[in-house]
């Protein structure tokens, strides 16, 4: 099997590369910096004896995504795409600079939608895995556009799940809480972090499931449940997510 991993060079993306390669899958890894990709490619090829191709792409630019990732031949040869990708800005509030808003929405939603739609136009069989965020469940004073684009992404994944119910397309969507990546490193968090290693194993284990939504770590399930049923007027007085 051959999988495209977008956002492969660090955190969850890197972990997914190792998990899929360990299970004898060839990879196409995609990220912004060729140095990181070459290092990862070399390590994986030497340790697991699989083939790894690299693509340098910038999801914040529509033109770049079109140029680098909209490749018919590549889509034909891959069996699935994983999007362990996300862009965050520290001062992501309502009045964020318009260029940054555009970048956030592109990297977290529209580029993923563009790549996925193109993949689906060539394939009626395969795996698509998206990653959202618990922050997408409740807008708050920070991560405004990040949260909004992650909520949009979840909705998009639900839609492609419905649209492809008759095809052999497997859709997984993981809503992530705190996980042990650089984004959460050193931050004072109200709940423990989940392990990227565990998550990547879970993604691999579930790769043949038709349509599935998960929360990771799963202790977020009751929290999200309460966030959904509590009135917004009550919630605005509490800083529920500290990120």
């Amino acid at each position: 099997m051959n999988y495209l991993i977008v956002g492969a060079s660090s955190g969850l993306g890197r972990e997914l590369c190792y998990t899929f390669a360990k299970n004898n899958n060839d990879l196409i890894i995609c990220s912004r910096d060729l140095r990181d990709l070459n290092a990862l490619k070399s390590d994986i090829e030497k340790k697991f004896n699989v083939e790894v191709e690299t693509i340098v792409a910038d999801l914040t630019s529509k033109e770049n995504v079109k140029k680098t990732l909209m490749n018919k031949n590549m889509f034909k040869k891959i069996d699935g795409i994983l999007f362990p990708v996300g862009l965050m800005f520290e001062k992501d509030k309502v009045n964020l600079d318009i260029e940054k808003i555009d970048k956030l929405i592109r990297a977290n939603f529209s580029s993923i939608a563009l790549i996925t739609s193109t993949f689906l136009s060539y394939k009626k069989k395969g795996l698509i895995v998206g990653f959202g965020s618990v922050s997408g469940y409740l807008g708050r004073e920070l991560n405004t556009y990040y949260a909004a684009s992650k909520r949009a992404l979840e909705s998009y994944f639900e839609s492609i799940g419905f649209e492809n119910k008759k095809n052999d397309i497997k859709i997984q969507f993981y809503t992530l809480g705190y996980i042990d990546t650089n984004l959460s490193f050193g931050k004072k968090l109200i709940l423990p972090k989940g392990s990227t290693q565990k998550l990547s194993k879970l993604v691999y284990k579930n790769k043949n499931k038709k349509l599935k939504k998960y929360f990771f770590p799963n202790w977020w399930v009751p929290i999200i449940f309460f966030l959904k049923i509590l009135p917004l007027s009550f919630l605005v007085n509490f800083n529920i997510f500290k990120k």
Binding site: S9, R14, D36, S42, K47
Partner: protein
């Protein structure tokens, strides 16, 4: 330095002489190394943070943790060369190269040390009498320096910086990747012969005879029983081949538990030494040791260090020139008998190499002493410091965080040259640690 509150982490040196909140960043991408360095005035790089002395820590510098830089970048079996990133642990390298019957022989006694750290400290192992220090295996280094950017270092390229970087305590920049010349290793285990010795003078006799043989030699001696000071065993290991494969070395288990008080005192040291002596005595004269237990004797014995409690311990490692060994040992025994320090470990091995700059290297006998960290032992070690100057003994600044600048300057004759060369290379002296502050490096 831009101090963002969210990356402050409490860290301590392995000997617990230093414990403080430091500003830590964990780059995972090449551009993150560049970016984090841009944001700050002073930096120091951290591998696995297993240095006894605080070489990779500082309250005034950004600590750059390069654990995630642990990939194999290049491997050529025919040329016997490998390039790995600086955060690669020794066991990760060996788990790969031993599949091809290759290794680097200069391996420190713990496999979870990073290779960048091993190069920055010019590490050596039990076989340092045979193989010298890790410098012998280093072919090339890729260094990142805040001001100079990316630099290739080797005997042919930037030779001066190459020399400064090996054993340079990370003060020339971040060792991002290293190319090693690998050595063939067709064996699978070690045959270890033991010899009982009754006194410290026996070591000199045995080491003089054994030096000519091409084997790994080290000793374990007791220093808690003054009547039988130095009694113990000399071990001689020879690699052997059997039909089994070397089993993979597992990743370290996370163990953050710290024993609250120091377990080691006059009575416990005596009792544990006696028991350990009896155990060793009851063993066969020749035993087969697995690769891991022979090369990495500290694996599985981590609790020994934890038993020193929250105050930690002092390790003094000394290279005694052969011509002075007899006299030095006589003096050492004398001081021990008067001061009765709490020594939990005394060990000897042969070491070979040329001492340059601030590298812990030389020709002679390498003596290791582990002591409880208390005032009595500090006073005892001050006497040893004086002996170091008298007998031209080289104390390790990597192991002994207690050493003063004065002793360092007197024992390391090229310390000033190192300072000058480093300043010439890096006028702003960007890379600083607690140790560099102390020794004004």
């Amino acid at each position: 330095m831009k101090k963002s509150q969210n990356s402050k982490v409490k860290l301590n040196s392995f000997d617990k002489s230093f414990s403080s909140d430091v500003f830590l960043k964990k780059p995972e991408k090449y551009r993150e190394i560049e970016q984090f360095c841009k944001e700050t005035k002073n930096i120091i790089t951290m591998g696995s943070n297993y240095s006894y002395a605080p070489l990779s820590l500082s309250t005034d510098s950004l600590v750059l943790d390069i654990k995630k830089f642990n990939r194999i970048l290049y491997f050529d079996k025919k040329k016997k060369e490998i390039t790995v990133e600086g955060g690669t642990k020794i066991y990760e390298l060996l788990n790969f190269t031993l599949n091809y019957n290759l290794w680097i022989p200069q391996l420190p006694g713990y496999p979870y040390i990073s290779l960048g750290g091993a190069v920055a400290t010019n590490a050596h192992g039990k076989s340092c009498g045979l193989h010298g220090t890790i410098k012998k295996s280093v072919k090339k280094i890729l260094l990142y320096h805040k001001t100079h950017g990316w630099l290739n270092l080797s005997e042919k390229e930037n030779k001066e910086i190459f020399e400064l970087t090996i054993g340079g305590l990370g003060l020339t920049g971040t060792i991002v990747s290293i190319t090693f010349n690998l050595t063939e290793f067709i064996f699978t285990e070690f045959l270890t012969k033991k010899k009982k010795i009754s006194s410290i003078s026996d070591i000199v006799k045995n080491f003089n005879v054994q030096t000519k043989k091409k084997r790994h030699m080290y000793s374990w001696n007791t220093a808690s029983d003054m009547k039988n000071f130095g009694q113990g065993f000399i071990f001689e290991s020879t690699p052997r081949k059997n039909s089994n494969k070397i089993s993979k070395i597992k990743a370290a288990r996370k163990n953050t538990y710290n024993f609250p008080i120091c377990f080691w005192n006059k009575y416990t040291i005596k009792a544990v030494n006696k028991i350990y002596f009896k155990i060793l005595d009851s063993k066969e004269k020749e035993t087969n040791e697995s690769f891991t237990s022979a090369v990495f004797p500290f694996v599985g014995k981590e609790n020994y260090f934890k038993l020193f409690g929250t105050k930690g311990f002092i390790e003094s490692q000394l290279i005694v020139p052969n011509y002075a060994l007899n006299d030095f040992l006589v003096e050492l025994e004398k001081i021990c008998k008067v001061d009765e320090p709490l020594i939990t470990l005394l060990s000897f091995k042969i070491i070979r190499g040329d001492q340059k700059l601030i590298r812990f290297e030389g020709n002679g006998t390498c003596i290791t002493l582990d002591l409880v960290n208390n005032q009595k032992n500090q006073r005892f070690l001050q006497k040893i410091d004086k002996l170091c100057i008298e007998y031209k003994v080289l104390p390790s600044i990597i192991k002994d965080s207690r050493l003063s600048k004065n002793i360092f300057d007197q024992c390391y004759t090229e310390a000033e040259e190192f300072r000058e060369q480093l300043l010439k290379f890096d006028k702003n002296r960007v890379y600083q640690s607690e140790i560099s502050h102390k020794f004004k490096l």
